[in-house]
């Protein structure tokens, strides 16, 4: 099934010597790649071809990018979490049917079609990963950060979650159970962190992306955190 045109586009052979299929060696730094201008050219050429063939519409591409750069992101998830903290009935719905409860606040769809929310407590900490690719709950968190998609995180989150959490600055006592959720199917996971004190609005501002993935806790008001 992988004979003639193996994934890299750097494959040898007369059909892949130039144009869109031409790729060059370039520097690589795990997680922070040096991007070759070569990729810029390849993607530009691919876009032009697809537009000329009538397969894609440039305005649709712009709209997609605008959506994920400006409209869909972790502030959506923060609203969900803050609501759950102040509204016990909502929290109950969120924990029993996350997809519907999240849709109540207007967030739904692509890569969040089937949501599950898992709750942290003083004795239970949840951590989300996708070891096989980079599955992530787009409607509530937006597109995943590079570290989440990187080999170091994907490989270690399941075998050494406590070590991973330490790297994020979170050391958990031994009597806290760590649950790692490997997103192997189409379920997408959101962590409901422990609640600090404050009003719903103030709380929303405290909720971080990292806490909703489970690599951080929510810092109490005034202490801040890194993402």
């Amino acid at each position: 099934m992988n004979t003639t045109r193996s994934g890299s586009l750097t494959a040898t052979g007369p059909a892949t010597t130039g144009g869109l299929t031409h790729a060059q060696d370039h520097g690589h730094d795990q997680g922070h790649q040096t991007v070759p201008s070569d990729l810029t050219l390849r993607v530009k050429a691919l876009e032009s071809l697809l537009v000329e063939k009538g397969l894609v519409d440039r305005a649709a591409l712009d709209a997609l990018i605008d959506t994920y750069e400006h409209k869909v992101g972790p502030r959506n998830g923060a609203r969900v979490i803050a609501r759950a903290w102040v509204d016990p009935a909502y929290k109950q719905r969120l924990l029993t049917n996350a997809t519907a409860a999240i849709a109540e606040l207007g967030y739904s769809g692509m890569q969040g079609e089937h949501m599950v929310v898992v709750e942290n407590t003083p004795k239970l900490h949840n951590l989300v990963v996708c070891t096989l690719c980079s599955c992530y709950p787009w409607p509530v968190l937006g597109l995943p950060p590079v570290w989440y998609k990187s080999s170091p995180y994907r490989s270690r989150a399941v075998i050494d979650p406590r070590g991973v959490l330490c790297e994020f600055g979170l050391e958990l006592p031994k009597d806290v159970e760590v649950r790692v959720w490997d997103s192997t199917a189409e379920l997408r996971y959101l962590v409901l962190p422990e609640r600090p004190t404050g009003s719903e609005e103030a709380l929303e501002a405290l909720v971080t992306r990292d806490a909703m993935i489970g690599v951080a806790k929510i810092a109490p008001p005034g202490e801040g955190s890194r993402a």
Binding site: S6, G7, L9, A15, T16, G19, L20, T21, G31, H32, V35, L39, T40, K44, A45, L46, E47, S48, L50, E52, K53, L55, V56, D57, A60, L61, A63, L64, I65, V72, S108, G109, M110, G112, E113, H114, L132, C133, S151, P152, Y153, R154, S155, R156, V158, I159, R162, E167, F168, K174, V176, E177, R179, W181, D182, S183, T184, E186, L187, A227
Partner: protein, 219 residues
């Protein structure tokens, strides 16, 4: 397939590199690649399972070297050709073949919001009897298919407990290869960390995986 993408439990991949205030896209080409992939996906020529599998087919050294959106482009170009949407000659020349009729894009700007809002649910509203019940002990099957699977190596042959029945979903192992959806139950299965990793694991910890009926057998 036992590919390098199946990296749960591997060692020595290096430290996690965290970027503060990370942008959604680091380069313009990444955002274009992302959008192109979604817009082409709207043609419905292949399921998401086939997209995932195509990335798995990237040769291992390349897979580890490539950035995330580089893999997207590599996968997309392969699927464009396999599906017949684009020919290898067109990719080479960068221009449509003289004979090819101009298509009308499936995804226009006005359809972007509804597309994102609806997504593509993988659940199926068909009556399928679950083979396992909540609380039941199960063993992940020890199988090594050469095609697509979402059963990671680190869990194969391990004992777990059914924690939740998520309902009926498309089966990726067949769907990725255009062999049908084979809808079946998906369960959240709890595996004790010590069952997966032995004595080095913290005794209370656990890993939960979402696994299809066909991945499991009674323990």
């Amino acid at each position: 397939m036992n590919g390098v993408h199946d990296m749960g439990g591997m060692h020595d991949m290096g430290p996690i590199q965290y970027e503060k205030n990370e942008p959604v896209f680091h380069e313009l080409w990444e955002s274009r690649a992302f959008a192109i992939a979604l817009a082409v996906g709207a043609w419905g020529k292949w399921p998401i399972d086939a997209s995932r599998h195509q990335k798995e087919l990237i040769p291992p050294a390349e897979y580890l070297r490539m950035s995330y959106y580089e893999k997207w482009i590599a996968e997309l170009v392969e699927l464009l050709v396999k599906s017949g949407l684009v020919t290898a000659a067109e990719l080479e020349s960068g221009v449509p073949a003289a004979s090819s009729p101009k298509a009308v894009p499936q995804l226009t700007a006005d359809k972007v919001s509804p597309l994102i809002a609806h997504g593509g649910p993988a659940s199926r509203d068909v009556p399928v009897v679950p083979r396992f019940q909540m609380g039941q002990r199960v063993r992940a099957r020890n199988k090594h298919p050469v095609g697509h699977t979402r059963l990671p190596r680190y869990v194969r042959a391990k004992l777990g407990t059914i924690d939740r029945d998520h309902g009926v979903f498309v089966f990726p192992d067949t769907n990725a290869h255009f062999l049908g959806e084979k809808p079946q139950h998906v369960y959240s299965v709890r595996f004790a960390a010590s069952e997966l990793w032995g004595e080095q694991a913290a005794p209370r910890d656990a890993v939960y995986l979402d696994l299809w009926d066909d991945y499991l057998e009674p323990a």
